[in-house]
Each structure stands twice: as structure tokens, then as C-alpha cells.
Symmetry: C2
Subunit: 273 residues, 2 copies
Amino acid sequence: MYFTFIKTFALEEIIIIKIGGNIIDDEQALSKFLHDFSAINKQKILIHGGGKSATDLSKQLNIETKQIDGRRITDEKTLDVVTMVYAGLVNKKIIAKLQAHHCNALGLTGADANFIEAHKRNHATIDFGFVGDIDKVNPEIIFDLLHKNITPVIAPLTHNKHGNLLNTNADTIASSVAVELSKTKKVTFFYCFEKNGLLNNLHDDYSIIEHVNTTEIEQLKEKQIITNGMIPKIDNIANALNNGVEKVILCNAHNVLSIVNENAKFGTTFTLK
Amino acid sequence: MYFTFIKTFALEEIIIIKIGGNIIDDEQALSKFLHDFSAINKQKILIHGGGKSATDLSKQLNIETKQIDGRRITDEKTLDVVTMVYAGLVNKKIIAKLQAHHCNALGLTGADANFIEAHKRNHATIDFGFVGDIDKVNPEIIFDLLHKNITPVIAPLTHNKHGNLLNTNADTIASSVAVELSKTKKVTFFYCFEKNGLLNNLHDDYSIIEHVNTTEIEQLKEKQIITNGMIPKIDNIANALNNGVEKVILCNAHNVLSIVNENAKFGTTFTLK
């Protein structure tokens, strides 16, 4: 009876991990991370960004890369580039490497199995092109795959149900997927980046703030501890917590395995107030 | 009782369709084909080649394209190109378009869910690079997806289980998948190309040979009715029939829908002797 409870509980937990350019663009770091990821002894989902390969390929093809507020302006040619890089090169290399570690992975975009529906961004003054804002995450495919011990690996593209792929920020996808899955599962969302956590002092890698709740976020913004590029990340984290995700851990990708499997204390844990 | 039988029978049949460059490279033809494909009222799988986009992208990136006997020599840079084009651009555009037609499609390479295991080609004199010869098709993912009314769309890449993707001929993948699925299902394999079928006279598009059995293939080769580029295609067809596939139909992609849904007679039907 006791063991049954433990087992059921374990099955109900899902680990969602978002990795970004600092891992994807560094072959050795990616290799180490994928080794670790495969060893995570819980149901898990990986969401990856694109890294700098899309910018590199655009450059090689003489396609100008335009960004406004950190969002890539996606004309038709740029959409082709990000589709090739995110869904092709990055996603499939990750899949092949995970298979080598006996992690039975399968790559998805938001178009596959109608996983993530989105619409082209409406903006009063800026035409973002083929950039998608999420309308709906349909989680059935994720549950079906996890049930068969298949690990979903998600590339940052969605679709509009009218035949167009759309370029969607990987952080936003990760947060939206975490929220949707948290409706029926216990979700722990690992938000990996280049630092060891939220730092009290940007120049001291060990000044990690161990725990932050959502009411403290505004104070940390006022104190300039959360600034610049961190703001959208933290807003995504707050959004996830305000919408059902139990715990978000902001940490370095190389600490994820020991946090999950050994309950080690690394990174910054975010919870609701 | 009668209706139950019909229904069970229908569920057991799988339609496998291979399309090539003549459809993939022609936006209008592809659009019409995907509309038709979505309307096929049976369980179905699509396998696509790469078309000329990989060659075009290689050219833009100043990567030399080498082919021997119609097989692309795949060095590391070329592997990246075909991964981007086949698994990214071509596959995901097809998925998004099928979703617009309410066909719930999902893209796969041979690495996803360990669908197709392969090894790097061993050849006495030629180094083909990252070209894969198939060892094993693991059909579970296909059955799982079809069972959930999800339509698999397969890009021509496999993997070696040691972390490498491999470039594998789409015709060979189609034939190997058809053979594997035919072990437990009734498989009809549509091999689509630019002609209306096997022609008695290459200069007369209507001189279609309606039916060919495997014993007649050698005679047709001797008579020079099967020549040049047709030989590997027909060998793939013979291989499928000799290994359990009930019927292969060689036809133009725009006739597939009426052949399947209306039992129309188009193309050349190949069966065992």
C-alpha cells in the first residue's frame, strides 16, 4: 500500500527543463547536459532555444537579422532559417544524442500533433512578421508519449492552424507548457541559464539567493537585483507560478541532475507567495 | 456483425505514400497533394524525400554536392544541410499544411523514438560519409500514433544509436517501413513519381502498364522498359513485395486519392507473381 502510493506519486510528477544558447552553442556543455538529462529518474520534457546557429546561418545566407526587444523579426526567409535550425539541426542532433544515452526521445514543434496553437503577433507599431503568440497548448501528445516512456524534446516553433509555422520564444513556450501540464500533474520547471541562480551580486557567482516567492519579485526589481535581460525570464517564472506550477528552479544546467535525483540544493527556487 | 467485420478490416489497413522531388519542389503540386492526402479515409503514413532544396542550400553555403550512383556523398557539413532541410524545412512545412487541412500530422526522423536504426555504409572503395543503411525499423511509435489518429510524416534520416544522424534514401526508408508494417497489417504502398505509371513507351504518357508481377520485372528490364533511374525504384518495389507488402502502386501523386477512396484504376499495380 505504501509503495503503491510512492509509485503513483512518482508517475504524477513531471520535470520540465528549458535550456538556452549557453548550452546549445557549446558542444561539450550540451554533451554533458544530455548525459545528465538522460539519467533523470522521473518523467521529463526538454525545451530548447535556438542558440546562435540561426543568426550564423542567416549571416551566411546574407539574410539580415533584426531584433526588437530581444525578439527576432521573422520575415519569410528568416522563418525558413529558424525552421531549419530549431526543428532540424538543433532538435534532431539532440534527439540522436539522447538515443545514444538510451533516452527514448522524440522531437516536436508546436505544429506536430497540433501541440501548440498560436496567432501572428498583433502590434500597433511593429510588424514582427512570422512571430507567434500562444493561444492554446494541447497536452494530449505529451501525456501519450510520456505514458509510452518516450521523452518529448520541444523546438521553439508553433503554428496558426492555417498552414503557417510561427517563431515563438522558447521561454514562453516552456512556461506555457509548464502551466498547461500543471493542471493535472505536479510540475517542477527548471529554467536553466548561464549563471548559478539569481545573484545578489552579479560579480559574485556564489551570492545565490536560495529562495524567492512571487511577492518578493517586485522588491528585487526595485533593488535592481532583477534587471535588464533577467526581467522577461522572471516574468515568465512568475506567470508559471501564478498559473499552477508548483516550483520553478532557476539554475545552471549542469546542476539539474543532482537537484532532481539527489535533492541537492542548487540555484534559486521560486514559489508562490 | 457484417459492419463490425468491415470496420475491423478497415482499421487493419495502412496506406503508405512516398512522394519525391517533383511534388516537394512544386508549391502548387504539394499543396494539392496535401489536400488530397488529408482526405484519404484510411490510416496513412507519408514519407517524403528532400527535393532540390538541399542542393540549393548547399550551393548557397558553398558546400560542394557530390553524388555517386544517385546517392549523395554526405560529409559533416552536408549532413547538417540535409538535417536542416529534410527534418526542418520540408517536414515541418508539410506538418503545418496538413494541420490546416485537419489532418493531425506529426513529423519523425528515424532517430525520433528510435524509429529506424542504421549503420554508416561500408563500401570497399567509396566513402559515402554519413549515409545510413537500415538495420531495423521499430514500428511501435507508428502504431501508437495511428491508434491516436495521428498521421506520421517521415523525413529521410536515420541514426546509428551512437549519437549520429545518417542520411538515408527516402525510397529505401519507404520500402523498409512498408515491409515492417506488413508483418502485422495489410499494407498498400503508393510509390509516387512524375509519371502516370510504368510506361510501355516513355514518350506516350498514356501507355501505362496496368499490372506487373514480380516475375515479369526481369523481362521488362531486358526489354528496356525498366531502365536507368527506374531500376532502383523497381528494385525497391520488388523488395517490398518479396517481403510481405501486398500491393505497390506506382503512380502520379495526384491520382492517389481517387485510387484509395474511389477504387479508381490509375498507375501500375505491382504484386507478387
